[in-house]
């Protein structure tokens, strides 16, 4: 045991150093900043350490933005899995020899910058954009419908952006599923629907949970999409943190809020991993 550990140790070292240097050290800095105060020039002071920033983070001011972030991330996760599951299922079951090609198509959007793709959504959604032009052309509306800078635009943009992150783990778990089990269920007079509900879905649950994690975590901290596609009514906590760090010149408050966001994410991940483990053990 010890020998094996020693053998593998040097190989793991670069990864550990990397994580320590570029993840833990910055994290420690932010933790330190979050208990500091700031002076009139925006510099962080450590002469009077305080938890005041955490107390203030629970002020009514921040609650709506945090809950709005959770709402957007939650909707994005639900939509990504709802849309992603059938796609992954179809590729796995009916993709045949084109499976690899279809998977590449899923990943195709990554070849273009996320920024450019989000700008494309702005062009599609704006008042004189593609959607409104079509609606007007068909005579369905006379005045433009406001789509850009709304909740809808944010959720749409985030779902679009994070969908591939949901499809890939879903595909892996569906593809690994032994089809003999489905056939066995059908042999035992399960309808197609109940075979799916009682066999396929439970066995692919680890994929669903992984997909949920891979969409929810980046979505809750996503700053770009709400910033570009959102508007005055869609302020998220990520945007508030950015404002505090920059124009607010209040790094300690921003750092505290960032830590609270991270704590929420870690708690969510912990719950998800526990249920994932339970699924796998079952």
């Amino acid at each position: 045991m010890l020998g094996r550990r020693l053998g593998i140790g040097p190989l793991v070292l670069p990864g550990v150093v990397w994580l320590a240097l570029f993840f833990l050290v910055p994290l420690a800095f932010i933790a330190a900043v979050s208990v500091g105060t700031h002076d009139r020039f925006g510099r962080v002071l450590f002469d009077a350490l305080t938890l005041d920033n955490y107390r203030k983070a629970f002020a009514p001011t921040f609650i709506p933005t945090i809950s709005r972030s959770i709402y957007y991330a939650g909707m994005t996760t639900i939509l990504s899995i709802t849309i992603g599951y059938p796609v992954a299922y179809w590729i796995s079951r009916y993709g045949g020899r084109n499976k690899a090609l279809l998977l590449i198509l899923v990943m195709l959007p990554f070849w273009t910058s996320y920024l450019i793709r989000t700008y494309a959504w702005m062009i599609i959604l704006r008042d004189n954009g593609v959607v409104n032009s079509i609606l007007r052309g068909l005579g369905i509306t006379s005045e433009p419908i406001i789509l850009l800078n709304t909740d809808l635009a944010v959720i749409l943009g985030m779902t679009y952006g994070f969908l591939p992150f949901a499809i890939l783990p879903l595909f892996v778990s569906i593809d690994r599923l032994d089809q003999a089990l489905v056939l066995a269920a059908r042999d035992l007079y399960a309808s197609g629907r109940s075979a799916f509900i009682h066999v396929v879905l439970p066995l692919t649950m680890p994929g669903v949970i992984a997909a949920a994690l891979l969409t929810f975590i980046p979505a809750i901290g996503d700053y770009v999409t709400p910033d570009l596609l959102g508007g005055a009514q869609t302020t998220t906590v990520a945007k508030v943190i950015q404002t505090l760090f920059l124009s607010g010149r209040d790094w300690p408050q921003g750092a505290a809020l960032g830590f609270i966001l991270m704590a929420l994410t870690i708690a969510g991940t912990f719950v998800a991993i526990r249920s994932l483990r339970a699924e796998v053990l079952n």
Partner: protein, 414 residues
């Protein structure tokens, strides 16, 4: 200057720069977004090419440069006296390189090439994505840049914490070109640490194709009829100023009662607002916003492409502000930096700069070279009656938190 560049390549780069400048997504926005999402391989080379184009295009661009310093003004005795200032004596030796850190699209295209040609200094310009991002880096430590452009209100603070160097006024004889109000400003007595660069007004922009009347008041931004098509500047001090001025309070108040009243007014407006953003050029050009809180000189640029956009300084009064050129602590080329600031104050260079970016400078001697169009635009070159109604936003120190807290509350929509 040391390497000859293939002119065809330079042209391509210049075309790219212009392309990005004219598209709604300016380079500043592009850089900003990329800094947020991380530069992607696809975009990085283009952006890199663009950001160096301005500087490296020197040899070909200098030939076409309109303003060659030292300039001999065609007429006007006052200007002759101003621009024919003797060269700094004794002739100093500038360093080989100069690093400038600026907003994108905030310097005329000939300013750098003419300086490079005159002094043989290789100038590189980088752009900051947001002002506050630049400020945070300057206060945090060394940046590697020689010159940047803070707002005048930040000058006393930057001097106090030692982040900007005193100017060597013996290298800046063109200081005599400054208008009297700029020669000894309150924020920096004797121009010891900063040189005024450009100044601007804040007001309201609207699209006359959508709004068939002529609004004159801040109240137009609170008009229910434009619900869903109103934008406010995503700048806590500017937004509160819009409310405070309507309430006849000082735009620099730190009184909690007055600020609460202003917050009440802004909350009243919040459901009508579509966007809080500082990209006023982008939103006024997009067609989504019919009326928006905006900076005058930005809108001057929008009008060139979209003539239906109008701008006014509200009758209740408004805000004005100015930017300065400073030399950062740790600058590796202080001599070149002082000479560059002197160059910015050259009458012809300054006028050329103003004509290009649509801002008025502090340069009295430059006025005669500034285009009539710019001089006739009342919100860029307002007469005294209007200027008297404009307030400068001052540094409020820790009391800025009073604005920040309320601003967060407003944005949260509670």
């Amino acid at each position: 200057m040391t390497t000859e560049r293939d002119p065809s390549k330079i042209d391509l780069e210049r075309v790219l720069v212009r392309y990005l400048a004219e598209e709604r997504m300016t380079r500043r926005q592009l850089l900003h977004r990329i800094s947020v999402v991380g530069a992607t391989a696809a975009l990085a080379p283009i952006v890199a090419a663009c950001s160096t184009a301005g500087a490296s295009a020197a040899p070909s661009a200098a030939a076409s440069a309109a303003s060659e310093a030292p300039s001999v003004p065609p007429s006007a005795s006052a200007a002759a006296e101003a621009t024919a200032t003797p060269e700094p004596t004794p002739e100093p030796t500038p360093e080989a390189e100069l690093h400038i850190w600026n907003y994108a699209e905030y310097m005329g295209e000939n300013v750098v090439p003419s300086f490079e040609k005159k002094y043989g200094v290789k100038v590189s310009t980088d752009f900051f994505d947001t002002y506050e991002g630049m400020y945070a880096r300057v206060t945090a430590g060394q940046t590697g840049f020689d010159i940047t452009f803070p707002t005048s209100t930040d000058i006393p603070g930057l001097v106090t914490i030692g982040k900007i160097l005193p100017l060597d006024l013996s290298l800046i004889p063109n200081k005599v070109n400054l208008g009297s109000e700029w020669a000894n400003p309150g924020y920096d007595p004797g121009n010891a640490h900063s040189m005024p660069y450009m100044w601007w007004t804040t007001g309201v922009a609207y699209d006359s194709a959508k709004i068939k009347e002529t609004p004159t008041s801040w109240k137009a931004l609170w008009d229910e009829r434009w619900k869903g098509h109103i934008a406010m500047l995503d700048d806590q001090r500017e937004a509160f100023a819009a409310a405070l001025i309507q309430l006849r309070f000082s735009a620099n108040t730190v009184d909690d009662g007055e600020l609460d009243q202003a917050l009440g007014l802004l909350k009243q407006q919040h459901p009508l607002v579509r966007l809080y953003s500082v990209e006023d050029q982008q939103y006024m050009a997009s067609g989504d916003i019919w009326i928006g809180h905006a900076w005058g000189s930005d809108i001057y640029a929008v009008q060139q492409k979209k003539p239906s956009v109008e701008f006014y300084i509200p009758e209740e009064g408004s805000v004005r502000g100015s930017d300065t050129a400073v030399i950062l602590d740790g600058a590796k080329s202080p001599v070149a930096a002082n000479l560059f600031i002197n160059h910015l104050l050259d009458a012809k260079v300054s006028a050329d700069n103003s004509n290009y970016i649509g801002y008025m400078g502090p340069n009295e001697a430059a006025r005669q070279f500034i285009s009539k169009d710019l001089l006739d635009t009342p919100w860029i070159n307002p007469d005294k009656a209007i200027v008297d109604k404009l307030q400068e936003l001052l540094d409020l120190g820790l009391d800025t938190d009073k604005y920040a807290t309320r601003w967060t509350e407003l944005k949260a929509g509670i």
